[in-house]
Subunit: 389 residues, 2 copies
């Protein structure tokens, strides 16, 4: 369980297979984000239909509403969401630092104000671990301290070091829960499938490679992890800087651990990150942009609200097999957006998630035939020159 | 084509089969309403999945936006909506009289103000017929003059008589289109399947049985219709009054024509109307109420927002096979509504449409085994006593 097998490589790019309690995930893989326990506008059947194998849910949101106790009493997050494939929960760190109102960080944890009811709450490393244990996802993440993309060295260092100290506390609590956790919840006795969860660390350090390198060294000393995440990237720093950090870190990352780049989800960023050895991604971009009428296509992004599409009989993306692309025309999809119909939000969300999942499948195939570089050149030639149409 | 075969009866209740260009509809049947060319929040796959065979779209809404010309150029309404099964378009009369702003009726037609952009528009019997011809649904409806449910005799008589005069003009124009219609559009040459559409009359007359009886006599003289609709009911009059009108009319309705009761869609109203010989129904209730959190269940309606359901692990309706009822719990559905998630709107809409379609299937089965009365008693014992929970 939690085994990761790299099946093919092409330079730093890897194609692999990740075994989790609820199923197998082929990598590179994109995780749709189920912020509040639902990938916005998409149902479990939709997600299976577009080939999603791993879904992310937000610990912060589910803790605030409806609360992990209710989810545990309803059989855990898999059953709650009606999702019988692998799940990953983030630690809540990113949301606390980006979304909650006033917050105060100290060594104990972070105090924040709920965005739902304004109540004061505290998230500690131990608490974040317990919440995720009750939620019962296949993969839990350790609580991290996230700083903005352009944070100076001292700020980034402080947060990265705190994240490491918190990681140790998360891991201790996770071990305690796994060996003698409370009865009840999806990981309690009699759970089916047997309660199993792995906890994974998040590397911080901003854009400072030497902080990341030192943090990685310490992180690897702290435990025998089944994978690791790169946090604090794609949070405002220029993209070339993110690419430099990824390229500099790649040779130092243990090849046997799956690498999850948090919060990355634009097609061009996925390709650039796989090129630099990343295996897993999550992002709200496909659903959020879909709700704004923006669609990824083989020929680059387009916005379906554009008047050019009013009488366009073509599918949204001729190469796609999703319901939006096979059942109706661009003209109809534009009508749905102009008429403010819910179906438009859903069909474009569905399409964008399908697009990213097909993109990861194409990347896997290109890596397996040892042709990732030429595939990526070809992909960029078609996708990138296009301006929003 | 357009053949209707009554296959079984049980008192006035009938089970039949309606042949339309895009497929067969078993009756009694409920039509989900695709107001703007989409059954709100549901996709073509969803509709097929819940067993919808006939969908209604609103001529008024589609005329105002995006316009019938655009839909015709995009291949007609079936292709526009991605719906390969039978379609019916209403005449626009009900929307003009209930939804548009200031309006002026005269013998020529009705002038109204678009609810979208405030522009002044005119709908004539000929125009309504032409719009529907361009849309290309299997069944078109003649333009009618709708009055409120409690309209006095003089008002109801005036509207009913005008509706009959308009019917004759609609029929003339429809014949002209069918024998030498304009090229292009779904009914033009080369259309696949061959352009075919039937036009059906709507009987008005408010709650005044003698007006309806006389109107029916004149209507049947005006043409060899393939079906007829009862309009101007379920528009504010007390339910017992509607039931009396239906019961009084039933013996006078030609048995060979399918009878469509417009705008009726609550479970108890469907059962009462089938009991009085009605074959077809449409209503926005299942989707509109679904979006408000209200669900039909075997044990009566419930509202999923109710705090009682917060930790309820049961399915919404244990007897239902839709995705809402098979994938997730009431507790999860409540969470979706409390958290304002789009998936909640959709899952309850899906369930309510599925509920009505299963209800019509149950009624068909009860009629075929000549046990509709006892089935209806049993159904009411379970459904009706329940108060909103």
């Amino acid at each position: 369980m939690f085994e990761f097998i790299v099946e093919a490589t092409c330079g730093p790019a890897r194609a692999g297979r990740l075994e989790l309690p609820y199923g197998t995930v082929e990598t590179p893989a994109f995780m749709p984000v189920g912020t509040q326990g639902t990938v916005r506008a998409l149902s479990p059947n939709d997600l299976r239909g577009v080939g999603a194998t791993l879904v992310l849910a937000n610990t912060y949101h589910l803790h605030v509403r409806p609360g992990e106790q209710i989810i545990a009493r309803l059989g855990g997050l898999h059953r709650f969401m009606g999702w019988d494939r692998p799940l990953l929960t983030d630690s809540g760190g990113f949301q606390v630092f980006s979304l909650a109102g006033t917050r105060r960080v100290d060594e104990a944890g972070v105090e924040f104000q709920s965005h739902v009811d304004g109540s004061r709450r505290t998230l500690t490393p131990e608490g974040a671990t317990e919440i995720q244990w009750l939620l019962g996802a296949d993969v839990a993440m350790a609580l991290d301290h996230v700083v903005p993309g352009e944070a100076d060295r001292a700020t980034a260092r402080d947060a990265a070091e705190r994240t490491l100290r918190w990681l140790d506390r998360c891991a201790q609590r996770h071990r305690a829960l796994a060996t003698g956790g409370p009865a009840g919840g999806p990981n309690g006795p009699g759970a089916d499938p047997p309660g199993l969860q792995t906890l994974r660390p998040i590397l911080q350090g901003g854009t400072h490679v030497e902080l990341r390198t030192e943090g990685l060294r310490q992180m690897l000393e702290l435990g025998a992890w089944t994978g690791l995440a790169l946090g604090g990237l794609a949070v405002g720093e220029p993209k070339p800087v993110m690419h430099e950090v990824l390229a500099a870190l790649e040779p130092r990352l243990p090849p046997a651990l799956p690498r999850y780049l948090m919060g990355v989800g634009f097609p061009e960023d996925l390709v650039a990150a796989v090129e630099r050895g990343v295996d897993l991604f999550d992002c709200v971009a496909p659903t959020r942009h879909g709700r704004n009428g923006s669609a990824f296509t083989a020929d680059g992004p387009l916005n379906i609200r554009n008047a050019d599409y009013r009488e366009d009989p073509r599918p949204l993306d001729v190469s796609c097999d999703c319901e939006a692309c096979t059942a109706v025309s661009r003209g109809y999809l534009r009508h749905l957006f102009v008429a403010k119909e819910l179906l438009g939000l859903r069909l474009l969300s569905l399409h964008n998630v399908r697009y990213l999942i097909r993109l990861t499948a194409e990347m896997r195939a290109a890596i397996r035939r040892h042709a990732f570089g030429s595939w990526a050149d070809e992909w960029r030639r078609r996708y990138l020159p296009a301006r929003p149409r």
